[in-house]
């Protein structure tokens, strides 16, 4: 078969994905960018307004509230999620009696449908009959209504995210298993402590994976706040859980200000990019010079 045929074939195979990406992602994104410079209520045709939407945005206190709330999630939730996933991956790496069941338990919350998951938490956190509130009460603490205080509501959203770490966990587990066993045997022979090994061997070698997951998780955290905020807290109390995706949704689909919502989407995109960039820079500096993948190991000709 000639070479050209092969690449034609590959293009053909990739075509469904490329088409879907173009139609469902690239084109809407471009349309959103265009709408950002218009006023559009879906009833009358869009009208060009230049930078007016962005000027309004700049002076909209609720927008800045949403930025703060979303950034809070990105800054607090992402490190916690990755830290927890890494901890569980290292803990459950070895084959022990219950490690298989534990691994399934870690992954399971990530496959529950978003709406069902949010409703479940609504019940868990319910001030009347929610098990979390009752447990707090049983320990002698005052019945704290997590969802009715701004402080508690925002943290409840973070808490919900901490259980949906199945993917992070799987990727980190795989990355850790890829690290050569000999490096750890060497550490054992030198008698170094587990913490030293973690700090000087495991963590630096996992940094490339963590950078990748962190960048992805910032974007995830921004978007994943939408359903819990919509279902559980409706943005309240006192706008404490008004996150960017919710505010965008409200402007677009409740107030029919599509132009304004589009401008905010562009702003959210820029903010995501900035946070991801900052995070990569921090992790690179902290994780040392090595950000490349481990070289593949040569084939083992014997035992």
């Amino acid at each position: 078969m000639r070479r050209r045929d092969t690449s034609d074939g590959m293009l053909l195979l990739a075509a469904p994905l490329l088409t879907a990406t173009a139609v469902l992602v690239v084109v809407p994104a471009l349309v959103a960018v265009l709408f950002a410079f218009t006023e559009y209520d879906a009833l009358s045709p869009p009208r060009l307004v230049g930078l007016a939407n962005f000027r309004t945005l700049w002076h909209d206190p609720l927008f800045w509230m949403a930025v703060r709330n979303s950034t809070f999630i990105g800054v607090v939730s992402v490190p916690l999620r990755i830290g927890l996933a890494l901890g569980l991956a290292l803990l459950l790496m070895r084959q022990r009696r219950f490690s298989r069941a534990a691994r399934i338990a870690v992954f399971l919350p990530s496959v529950v449908p978003e709406i069902a998951y949010a409703l479940l938490w609504l019940w868990m956190l319910s001030p009347e009959y929610g098990p979390i509130g009752l447990a707090l009460q049983a320990t002698g603490l005052e019945r704290h209504n997590l969802l009715l205080s701004p402080w508690g509501a925002r943290r409840s959203i973070v808490l919900m995210g901490l259980f949906q770490i199945g993917e992070l966990y799987i990727v980190l587990l795989a990355a850790r298993r890829e690290l050569p066993a000999e490096l750890y045997e060497l550490c054992a022979m030198e008698g170094v402590s587990a913490f030293w090994t973690f700090r000087n061997v495991t963590l630096p070698l996992l940094i490339p994976t963590i950078i990748f997951l962190g960048a992805r998780d910032v974007a995830w955290s921004f978007q994943a706040t939408f359903i819990p905020a919509l279902v559980i807290t409706k943005g309240g109390p006192e706008f404490a859980t008004l996150f960017l995706p919710l505010y965008i949704y409200q402007n677009g689909f409740e107030y029919l200000r599509f132009g304004y919502a589009s401008a905010m989407t562009v702003a959210m995109f820029v903010l995501t990019g900035a946070l991801v960039g900052l995070q990569i820079a921090l992790l690179r500096r902290w994780g040392g010079r090595q950000t490349e993948r481990l070289e593949p190991r040569p084939a083992d000709p014997s035992t």
Partner: protein
């Protein structure tokens, strides 16, 4: 009496029903280079890890310089392990890789730096100290791994196939370096390989492992010339020893497809009546008529064979002879004119043949030995 550098007694390790290391006992003298050789799955690497303490043993004792280390954690056994994959940290420079153990143990910086430079210079690694492992060749990486083991100042070196990831030429060269290094340091070394050529050329003594058991241990010459079992006979030496099923014809012959082969006196006691035996003949002891390398005079009735394969190897040519449905390997001088399909005559140089019991697969007792 000085204690042995390493004593292993009745050491065993099972995984489930599989006996990976099965009652292995041996000793290595202080300063000896002992090579353990065996095919994949023979238990070599596991044995090494049992001695290092990385894998707990089920039973048996391990003593290093007379000190029972069986229950000690790896770090307190005073051994250093050199890995086949080098096990260098990809995110550390060569200097950091070398000083790894000292940093972990909290040796002060100035002292560890001085030691690193000293060892790096001895190994010719000093220009590479600031580089990363990925920037080094396989041979250089292996030297870094050796240097790191040296910096440990162990009482026992354990080497797990340290040359297997190198190309053929570099392997021979590094082999020499390790032997020279050993003769300078004189640290007891247990070296594991699947390559019998490596074992024969490096070891003061070699031990042959098969399916978790130590089948024979001795000098390279002993193992080559007096293999204790069929396995050792076939595993040590390239090309492998020819093994033929024969029938004992007391008092002094065996019969193979109608040919009567005279057995040297030292083996004649083993020739029981109508006993099935296995005759072992090294390729160099199969003499081809007309070859300058043929040993002894041609007998009255040489055996006829057809040349099935001619395999020139530079300084010699290997022949595979087809005779009575089986293949025999021999070798002739490189300018011996022969082609595939030629008919030739050959005979066995019977002074150095071996006899094995096909039931036990062990060599039959020679007269004058136990």
């Amino acid at each position: 009496m000085t204690p042995f550098g390493l004593e292993v007694e009745d050491l065993s390790k099972r995984y489930g029903d599989a006996r990976i290391v099965d009652n292995v006992s041996f000793t290595a003298a202080e300063g000896e280079l002992l090579v353990l050789v065996g095919p994949s799955g023979a238990g070599k690497s596991t044995l090494l890890r049992l001695i290092a303490g990385l894998v707990p043993h089920d039973s048996g004792t391990i003593r290093i310089r007379g000190r029972d280390v069986g229950e000690l954690p790896p770090a307190r056994r005073e051994t250093a392990l050199v890995f086949q994959s080098y096990a260098l940290f990809p995110h550390m420079t060569i200097a950091e890789n070398l000083s790894f153990g000292m940093r972990a143990r909290g040796v002060e910086r100035a002292r560890s730096d001085a030691r690193v430079v000293e060892v790096a210079t001895a190994l010719g690694l000093d220009p590479l100290l600031k580089r990363y492992p990925r920037e080094l060749s396989g041979g250089e990486r292996q030297r870094v791994a050796l240097g790191r083991a040296m910096l440990r100042e162990p009482e026992l070196f354990l080497m797990d196939e340290p040359l297997s990831n190198l190309d053929a030429q570099l392997r021979v060269q590094t082999r020499g370096e390790i032997v020279r290094l050993h003769s300078r340091l004189r640290t007891t070394t247990l070296y594991v390989t699947h390559d019998q050529t490596e074992a024969l050329s490096m070891g003061d003594r070699i031990g042959v492992l098969n399916r978790g058991r130590l089948e024979q241990i001795g000098t390279p010459a002993e193992v080559y010339h007096h293999p204790r079992s069929l396995f050792v006979a076939r595993f040590i030496g390239t090309p492998a020893m020819n093994t033929l099923p024969v029938m004992a014809m007391p008092p002094e012959e065996v019969e193979w497809h109608g040919h009567f082969i005279e057995i040297p006196k030292r083996l004649q006691a083993a020739l029981g009546p109508r006993a099935a035996l296995v005759l072992g003949v090294r390729p160099e002891d199969v003499s081809v008529q007309g070859s300058r390398w043929a040993q002894g005079a041609a007998p009255a009735e040489p055996i006829a064979a057809i040349v099935d394969l001619v395999e020139p190897a530079g300084d010699q040519t290997y022949l595979e002879l087809e005779v009575h449905g089986s293949l025999l390997v021999t070798r002739v001088e490189p300018d011996f004119r022969i082609r595939r399909g030629d008919r030739i005559n050959f005979w066995f140089h019977t002074a150095s043949v071996h006899l094995f019991d096909p039931r036990t697969e062990f060599a039959v007792a020679e007269r004058g030995t136990a």
